[in-house]
Amino acid sequence: MPEKLFKVNAEEYILPGNRACSGCGLSIAYRYVLKALRENTILTLPASCLTVLHGLYPITSVGIPCLNCTFASTAASASGLVAGLAAMNRSDITVVAIAGDGGTFDIGIQALSGAAERGTDFIFVCYDNEGYMNTGTQRSSATPMGALTTTTPILTKQQHKKDMMKIMEGHDIPYLATCSPSFPIDLYDKFVKAKRIKGTRYVQIATPCPPGWVFPPKDTVKIGRLAVETGIVVLYEIENGKFRFTGRSKTISEKGTRAPVIHYVERQGRFKKMSMEQLGQLQRWVDGKWNEYLRRAEA
């Protein structure tokens, strides 16, 4: 492990003292994302937790040029950057759009689908904290079944999480990956690889959110690990249609050591109203997805 850490770019692109919540999963992930992407990058982002992390005018915590855009427009904003840079003969710059799950799964999906269908040469990053956390934990289509949010405050969310990876894969893009801030080297490697590939690349990061998921900020990495251990989050990449488990998920798939989802669920206040029936449904949903991945990995 130490020698793997040494290969990580030592440069820092987000400054300490930024406005992220304590224990923010996004801030851990974002640090490694930018290390992997390096200087020759332009970011665009909609209103989100990341906007807050970036700080308030005229001071910013981010050392990479970035363009804020409206909520629904992230991928179109990236398309405009790509077109504008091409027109200015600056095609050497990597354009990266980064949005939360609301800005990706919900309001941003139209522009994202359009950009991916056009094969726009950019990386779309979704940091998935499973709800509208910037506005105070409302339900999104990325919220898992059984979670309390301020818009599912009593009965919990009744539906499963949208399978955004599958939707994006339907666009036949050259590279898709999932990652977690609890496994930063896996995350780093995927962004290094994504940067080298041409066309639309989609990377989804499962970022634990202490205030939204209701767990102590010190447990962020642990919750992220448990998500992977239980198969709630599966680390993989799909390169030119070829599925491959990576990192910890690869080990779990080889050893068959996937833990039950209760280990993950029981540590978060957002699941405290989850019924046994919902727990069973969630387990079956995770099992189903996992078996699908196993079949794909063997193919």
Binding site: T44, V52, H54, P58, A111
Partner: protein, 401 residues
């Protein structure tokens, strides 16, 4: 060398963009604007125009692409109508707030529900308060010339410009248009220099969250708060009047055509009644004025060319010492009156002008308006004014019972 071609208003708009060597074009199809960007797509694919053409999935994305491409220094163009423009609404604000010199050809069309593909100006009037300069054209020659002027204005004051013209009436009507010489256009229009360039050489966080109050940056320099930035946009729009007028004057010198700066007038010198309007209905009003004059009424026309910034001083000047004003317009500010009429009256208030102003809402959703009907409406307003009626709103050719 003169190069006159017979073309539609949409071709004229496309030609204007081509002559300005636009670098990024993005569009989504909507009637009646579609052929503007179809024409450009054709040029791009033939290699006749070196531009990036981004075929996005919605108008919201169209304006987003324009915003981002302009932010990295490209000259951008688009065109839309009606619901397309409404769908852009959020991004129109964002473009103006970002102070980007985007030029949009708005081919005016009515707004649903129910669906109408036909002309009125409700679409662009509904974008009045987005911070865009709005110029209304009255013929196809003015469209090509105004697109070229629009880039010079926009890139000088760092405000986006909407070049508006009436759907079908101009967009699909063929007229002789002189295509300006490409090299002369290059001399008229210097290259676009962005106020801020987004690039890795100088990392910046553009359009982050801002406080209501001013705040010091890392070097201790006090920077604008939100409201200070809004004032700068207002100040830029107010100040753009001089730029519009000078641009038109310079254009006239170079190309020999003057479409009027903020507004244009027709037979106003001896007029006892003035008809006012924007776009093709104002052209029609000139024919109505001629008809009225044949009948012994000394009528003239004031065509509002630039609606935002509003030509406050020019309006006061044009309507001073006129006994009667009749405003014809293809929009309605629901619950009040036509937007142009309200603005004209507001401008007159400051100058203490008490002239009666009658308002005609006309041609909504493409309902036909004939010059003879404008003349007849004016006659009836003159009679009402003579009888002491200072204000009146009439829906022309409309069942109002």
């Amino acid at each position: 060398m003169s190069n006159v071609q017979i073309m539609t208003g949409n071709s004229a708009a496309a030609w204007g963009a081509k002559l300005c060597k636009v670098q990024v074009v993005s569009a989504y199809p909507i009637t009646p604007s579609t052929s503007v960007t179809e024409t450009i797509a054709n040029w791009v694919e033939r290699g006749e125009l070196k531009a990036e053409y981004v075929r996005v999935e919605s108008e919201h994305s169209v304006m987003t692409v324009c915003i981002s491409a302009s932010t990295v220094g490209a000259r951008v163009f688009t065109s839309t109508s009606s619901h397309g423009l409404l769908y852009m609404h959020e991004q129109l604000h964002w473009a103006a707030g970002s102070r980007l010199p985007i030029v949009l050809a708005c081919v005016n069309r009515g707004v649903g529900a129910p669906w109408s593909i036909f002309n009125d100006q409700q679409d662009s009037i509904a974008q009045r308060d987005t911070g865009w300069i709005q110029i209304y054209c009255r013929d196809n020659q003015e469209i090509i010339d105004t697109v070229i002027q629009a880039y010079r204005i926009a890139e000088q004051v760092y405000c986006p410009v909407m070049v508006c013209y009436d759907g079908f009436v101009l967009s699909h009507t063929m007229m002789p248009v002189e295509i300006p010489d490409a090299e002369a256009v290059c001399r008229f229009l210097p290259p676009y220099k962005p106020h801020t360039i987004l690039s890795p050489e100088d990392p910046r966080n553009i359009n982050p969250v801002i406080f209501p109050w001013q705040r010091r940056d890392a070097e201790g320099v006090l920077r604008d708060g939100y409201m200070d930035m809004r004032w700068k946009l207002q100040h830029a729009l107010e100040g753009s009047r001089d730029v519009v007028v000078k641009t038109c004057r310079d254009y006239a010198e170079l190309f020999g055509r003057d479409h009027g700066g903020m507004l244009w007038t027709y037979k106003t010198d001896d007029a006892e009644v003035l008809l006012a309007g924007m776009g093709s209905i104002a052209t029609e009003a000139t024919m109505a004025a001629d008809l009225l004059r044949e009948g012994g009424i000394r009528a003239g026309v004031v065509g509002i060319r630039v609606y935002r910034p509003f030509p406050r001083e020019e309006v006061r000047e044009a309507f001073r010492n006129i006994p009667a004003i009749v405003v014809f317009e293809k929009n309605i500010s629901y619950g009040y009156e036509g937007a142009l009429c309200a603005d004209i009256k507001a401008a007159l208030y400051g100058a203490g002008i008490q002239t009666p102003v009658h308002n005609y809402i006309a041609g909504l959703g493409g309902r036909d308006v004939k010059a003879s009907e404008l003349a007849e409406a004016t006659r009836s307003s003159l009679a009402a004014i003579a009888a002491g009626k200072k204000e009146q709103q009439t829906w022309l050719n409309c069942v109002t019972e």
